[in-house]
């Protein structure tokens, strides 16, 4: 199916899909939790958390990548412990690319989910709690079903952002074919060599196709959920 792509390009595409999927799925629970805390919580450090979440949106991606390297690199203050204790590292691995993509996509994910939570009438949650439901049950039975469209929208947005992530990825985990070379970094690499234009263009076409498919999927999901909410 991917015959018309060079093996190198096909590898980059598959890696990109894997990196983006893992980045999205792994950050989803954290994203919901953070969005809920930001939407409903009143605590010290609310502003700080909000700022931290949005930082990757504002910082140059290369800065985010470099900060990730300082933190999670083999010598980084978290990265060194991970390596010493578990023999695990993000540095120059596809998992590092997923981490970079997740961090870069996190603001978009949290924003979409937070908006959905803020649109839920708090009285619904309060009603559920006076009927005997604990906070966790209230969230599971009342809040979660109502914010599902927002979660899906946030996840699709995060996935798309992860597919396109370039700056932080190349700074943090470089551009190693087969390990950290994602679609955008592969396109960049092809453009750096003479005669690589054709290969780059094919990857560009793939990028466009993936983006369109993701958009169509999210539209379809959103409509399905909206229909369910409107009352079967």
């Amino acid at each position: 199916m991917l015959d018309w792509l060079s093996p190198e390009a096909a590898t980059a595409l598959m890696l990109s899909l894997r990196v983006s999927l893992v980045a999205t799925l792994a950050s989803l629970p954290v994203g919901v939790l953070v969005a809920y805390a930001l939407a409903r919580g009143r605590f010290v450090g609310h502003g700080l958390l909000n700022g931290l979440v949005h930082l990757p949106l504002i910082l140059p991606p290369v800065v985010t990548g470099y900060l990730l390297l300082l933190t999670f690199g083999r010598q980084g203050w978290i990265g060194a412990s991970l390596w010493d204790w578990f023999g695990f590292t993000f540095a120059f691995r596809w998992t590092g690319a997923a981490l970079a993509a997740a961090v870069m996509a996190f603001p978009l994910l949290v924003r979409a989910i937070r908006l959905a939570i803020e649109a839920v009438d708090p009285k619904l949650e309060e009603a559920a709690s006076t009927l005997g439901a604990s906070r966790l049950v209230v969230f599971g039975t009342v809040t979660l079903p109502l914010i599902l469209p927002g979660i899906i929208a946030g996840a699709v947005l995060a996935f798309a952002k992860a597919m396109g992530e370039f700056g932080a990825t190349i700074t943090f985990v470089a551009n190693i074919p087969g390990e950290t070379q994602t679609l955008p970094t592969a396109i960049y690499a092809f453009l750096q060599v003479p005669g690589g234009d054709g290969a780059a263009l094919r990857l560009v076409a793939v990028s466009v196709a993936v983006a369109m498919a993701a958009l169509a999927l999210s539209e379809w999901l959103a409509r399905r959920v909206a229909r369910r909410i409107a009352g079967r």
Partner: protein, 360 residues
């Protein structure tokens, strides 16, 4: 079963703002008790404290004799009905009603049966499988009541649940709520700014203003024997005269005002305070000649036909506005606009009252 509620010296501060100031109430098991007051008077704060969403800054709340300090809303034997009802939009009606039972781990067949029974109780059979959006306002109202009753609360808390309904339906639901309360015997605490609603439904009413409970009494006493000007004005219309209060004898005192000398009732606890005279328009009669006492001449400026009665408005000396209600009985003569008449009232129907009880 139904439980009593005690508020003991309850205060609630939001920052520097005192929303509820030293509230003391003892609500009996099975009582229909209303908190009545304008918006911002603290009545909703009291409800939120009883249901557990806010902790009092000072004082204690007891439900069924037990101090509920520190228990979360889901651990209290209370159910709350909101103004906007807050029905779960994604669940069919029966699941809405059975929500509290599902949380308690009741099996599906029992839940469904209980929901059907409650739908019958609130006079809405056959709605079990509909969605919330398919019901009318009054029907949603009944579902909200059924949902709260399903968990068999000891105390039902209602936060202006009828205010979104139209007049006709509101009046119907008043009677309905009262009937459901009598049938179930659950203690009802009802929050409203509608004095008609509070007076018509309640066993007792607590009138609130600026965080303070002004008076707790049966509806009739709230209307006929208000303790201060705020209560008198909030539950009905008044003609008000200002002046100097004379000596008290046998529960009556004189008031010398720019409009003449009057006599009215005075409560023992009101003596020595700055007082005004309050008399209701329906206790004010109109005549061509002055009465023996408590009579003011006025010129009629407006006559409004209200159906059961006719509302006559006039201006006395100094631009003082007065009004009287004349019964539409076909016998009483109704004066026309521009006519000069005497507005008189019975001293036993007039009250000398202080202003509201507010923080100094």
């Amino acid at each position: 079963m139904s439980a009593g509620i005690e508020l003991e010296n309850v205060c609630c501060d939001f920052g520097t703002f005192r929303a509820v100031d030293n509230a003391n109430v003892s609500i009996k098991p099975g009582e229909f008790f209303s908190f009545l007051g304008p918006s911002g008077c603290g009545k909703t704060t009291i409800l939120r404290m009883v249901s557990g969403f806010i902790e009092p800054t000072e004082g204690a709340i007891k439900i069924g004799g037990k101090d509920v300090k520190g228990t979360r809303p889901n651990q209290r034997p209370t159910a709350l009905i909101f103004q906007n009802l807050a029905l779960f939009p994604l669940m069919p009606i029966w699941e809405n009603i059975a929500f509290g039972l599902e949380v308690r781990g009741v099996d599906k067949a029992t839940r469904r049966k209980k929901a059907d029974d409650l739908l019958k109780l609130v006079d809405l059979p056959g709605a079990a499988d509909k969605m919330v959006s398919q019901l009318s306002g009054g029907q949603k109202q009944r579902v909200a009541i059924a949902r709260a009753l399903a968990v068999e609360p000891s105390v039902m808390l209602l936060d202006e649940p009828l205010s979104a309904l139209d007049l006709k339906l509101r009046q119907h639901m008043r009677a309905e709520l009262r009937a459901i309360q009598k049938r179930t015997g659950v203690t009802f605490i009802y929050i409203t700014h509608d004095q008609g609603e509070a007076l018509a439904m309640s066993d007792r009413v607590g009138v609130m203003s600026q965080g303070r409970i002004q008076q707790i009494a049966v509806p009739r006493d709230i209307y006929d024997n208000p303790v201060n000007g705020f209560v008198a004005s909030f539950v009905g219309e008044n003609n008000i005269f200002e002046g100097d209060v004379g000596p008290v004898s046998a529960g009556m005192a004189g008031l010398s005002s720019p409009h003449g000398a009057f006599r009215a009732r005075i409560a023992p606890e009101a003596q020595g305070k700055a007082l005004k005279l309050y008399v209701r328009p329906e206790h004010t009669t109109l005549s061509k000649t002055a009465a023996a006492e408590n009579s003011v001449e006025m010129e009629v400026t407006e006559v409004a036909f209200e159906g059961a009665f006719i509302s006559v408005h006039g201006v006395a000396a100094g631009g003082k506005r007065l009004s009287a209600e004349v019964k539409n009985d076909g016998i009483t003569v109704v004066p026309g606009v521009g006519e000069k008449v005497f507005a008189s009232f019975d001293a036993a129907r007039a009250l000398l009252l202080p202003d509201a009880n507010v923080r100094a």
